[in-house]
């Protein structure tokens, strides 16, 4: 008797859970489906006619016309190239610079070491917006406006990623490097051959967080790029969005080309993405 009511409860519980799960599923997915289906509809009048109904989610006609339009109307491949170049350079340089600094702080004992660790922790509090305007003034006086490096160099070193590496490196047993030192390995070799290979999971997390931040970065490139030459995708998207009359099919094609590769990357590297989100919670 008691067992039966327990079973009943369990069925009700999972039924309610599934209902909520599906409701949330629809809420989080519908704008993305809407984006893709609109981007595949070559007929702008048809898009506007159906935009408010469920029909908007199933294009009556599928074509890549809007995608070709995007390439015809603007140097889209240049924007894509700019974004990929800026993001990959920043992330790769960041991995080395940040992990090296963390390694230096975690594995050496020198005067001022504790001060530097405290400084890094304090710097984590400063949001980018709190340095944006003076940084604009400084980089402008360097003559860096409208270049790639103004979008790369200031964003390589990052206190939070240094801290994540530091927390990881400080846990290594001393014996690990002592053995290597006795074998005659130099410090750089220990960093390169021992520390980095062991820190692959943390490197993946840092790379993903850094990638997401840089890929979507909007405020800074909005201020420091003038023409299309060095402009990354998010700012280009907004410039295009601001041109009237708006062609929603083309806009959604642009948005899809910017989003689908990252979504695919996420689906394939899901475990790493989830870990990176989790690590960001250990502040």
């Amino acid at each position: 008797m008691a067992n039966r009511s327990y079973k009943k409860m369990k069925i009700i519980d999972s039924a309610v859970s599934y209902m909520l799960l599906i409701l949330l599923f629809a809420f989080f997915l519908f704008p993305l489906i809407y984006m893709i289906s609109t981007s595949l509809n070559p007929n702008e009048t048809d898009i506007l006619k159906k935009m408010a109904s469920a029909e908007a989610f199933v294009p009556s006609q599928i074509s890549l016309d809007n995608y070709f339009d995007v390439f015809d109307r603007m140097p889209f491949s240049r924007f894509m190239f700019n974004s990929i170049l800026i993001v990959s350079t920043t992330v790769i340089c960041g991995l080395f610079i940040n992990s090296m600094l963390a390694f230096g702080l975690a594995r050496f004992n020198f005067k001022g070491r504790n001060f530097l660790v405290a400084l890094i922790v304090a710097l984590m509090i400063i949001p980018f917006e709190a340095v944006a305007i003076p940084l604009l003034w400084i980089t402008n006086s360097f003559g860096w406006l409208d270049t790639y490096h103004i979008q790369i160099i200031p964003f390589i070193a990052n206190p939070f990623y240094i801290f994540l590496f530091y927390q990881f490196f400080i846990q290594f047993p001393k014996a690990l490097e002592e053995a290597a030192l006795i074998d005659g390995a130099g410090w750089f070799k220990i960093y390169w051959k021992v520390a980095l290979p062991l820190s692959k999971p943390i490197m993946a997390s840092v790379a993903i967080l850094h990638f997401l931040m840089q890929w979507g970065f909007y405020l800074w490139p909005l201020m420091v790029t003038r023409g299309p030459d060095y402009r990354p995708l998010p700012v280009s998207m907004n410039v295009f969005f601001g041109q009237y009359p708006r062609n929603w099919g083309d806009i959604m094609a642009f948005a899809s080309m910017m989003t689908i590769p990252v979504l695919l990357l996420f689906v394939f590297l899901q475990r790493q993405f989830i870990n990176s989100a989790k690590t960001s919670g250990v502040k």
């Binding site: 609109t38 408010a52 050496f108 530097l116 710097l123 340095v131 003034w137 995708l233 998207m237």
Partner: protein, 293 residues
């Protein structure tokens, strides 16, 4: 300078990073304090002049600034509790051992990997007066809904921005909660079941207290994100209509970049930073109390 080999090695490891942090974070950070007492402009032939607290005086008489501060706080007060409880609910749902849960988790996280500029553009289309959202309300109210031009209506514009911000941000926090949930020892729940505790009791007596640190982290980081609100308002409404969606960072961008008033914008930067600092110190205090208790 006499340095032994070990110290030289340490220096080589830390120097590149320390130099970059100094030039691109520490220096501009202190610079903003200095610049806030001057009339510095981005490009100007006039010499820079020290003007004392004039920028700060003007800042607190600036109606747009006051409005943006209020907007940011309103955003935090509404979005933080909703987004946090939604994220917790989602985390509890995807933590259940039922079939297909991974697919749901994947989809909930998708908006987070979608760039805000893209999110803003998609939702602008959805918010169109003849768009999907108006039609949705029209349908569920059996035709009693009067069409709203969401992004151009002073009453609706800000709530509209809030909704898409929650849509984009909840997935990330769900994962942080999920990590917290998975650390709660299962034995606690088993013991409670034996004691005859119901689901709600378990939630209030085990889940919530065990998640205290996670929750305070999520609350504080969402609050700080709310203060940094920029991308979506710049793209969708540019602060309008009638400053209904103006935010501190958008005002900062308009003054420091568009109007090139670097000195004035620096004063705003300082005030913005002090608020963020206050919230961060508050967080450390809570966590410290937690550890000592």
């Amino acid at each position: 300078m006499l340095l032994n080999r070990k110290h030289r090695a340490a220096l080589l490891f830390i120097l590149p990073g320390i130099i970059m942090l100094t030039i691109f974070i520490i220096f501009p950070f202190f610079m903003s304090f200095g610049l806030s007492f001057t009339n510095q402009r981005l490009i100007s032939k006039l010499p820079t002049k020290f003007i004392g607290f004039e920028n700060y005086e003007r800042l607190f008489g600036d109606k747009v600034f006051i409005q943006s501060l209020l907007n940011n706080f309103l955003f935090a007060v509404i979005v933080v509790p909703i987004q946090t409880s939604l994220a917790l609910g989602m985390a509890m749902l995807v933590n259940k051992k039922i079939k297909g849960v991974k697919i749901f988790r994947t989809v909930y996280f998708m908006p987070t990997v979608t760039t805000m500029a893209v999110v803003a553009v998609i939702w602008s289309f959805l918010y169109n007066p003849e768009g999907l959202i108006n039609n949705f309300f029209h349908t569920i109210s059996f035709g009693n809904w009067t069409t709203v031009d969401f992004l151009n209506d002073p009453l609706w514009a800000f709530p509209s921005i809030m909704l898409l911000s929650i849509w984009q941000g909840a997935g990330f926090q769900m994962l942080i909660f999920l990590a917290g949930l998975q650390e709660i020892p299962y034995s606690l729940y088993e013991a409670a079941t034996i004691d005859g505790a119901g689901s709600w009791k378990k939630f209030t007596n085990i889940t919530l207290p065990q998640l205290k640190n996670t929750t305070s982290f999520v609350l504080i980081s969402t609050t700080i994100l709310a203060l940094r609100l920029f991308d979506q308002v710049q793209i969708m409404t540019n602060g309008g209509p009638r400053n209904a969606t103006m935010t501190v960072i958008l005002h900062l961008y308009n003054s420091g970049f568009q109007k090139q008033k670097v000195g004035y914008a620096s004063a705003m930067t300082v005030v913005f930073f002090l608020i963020v600092l206050g919230i961060s110190i508050f967080q450390r205090m809570i966590l410290k109390e937690e550890r000592e208790a």
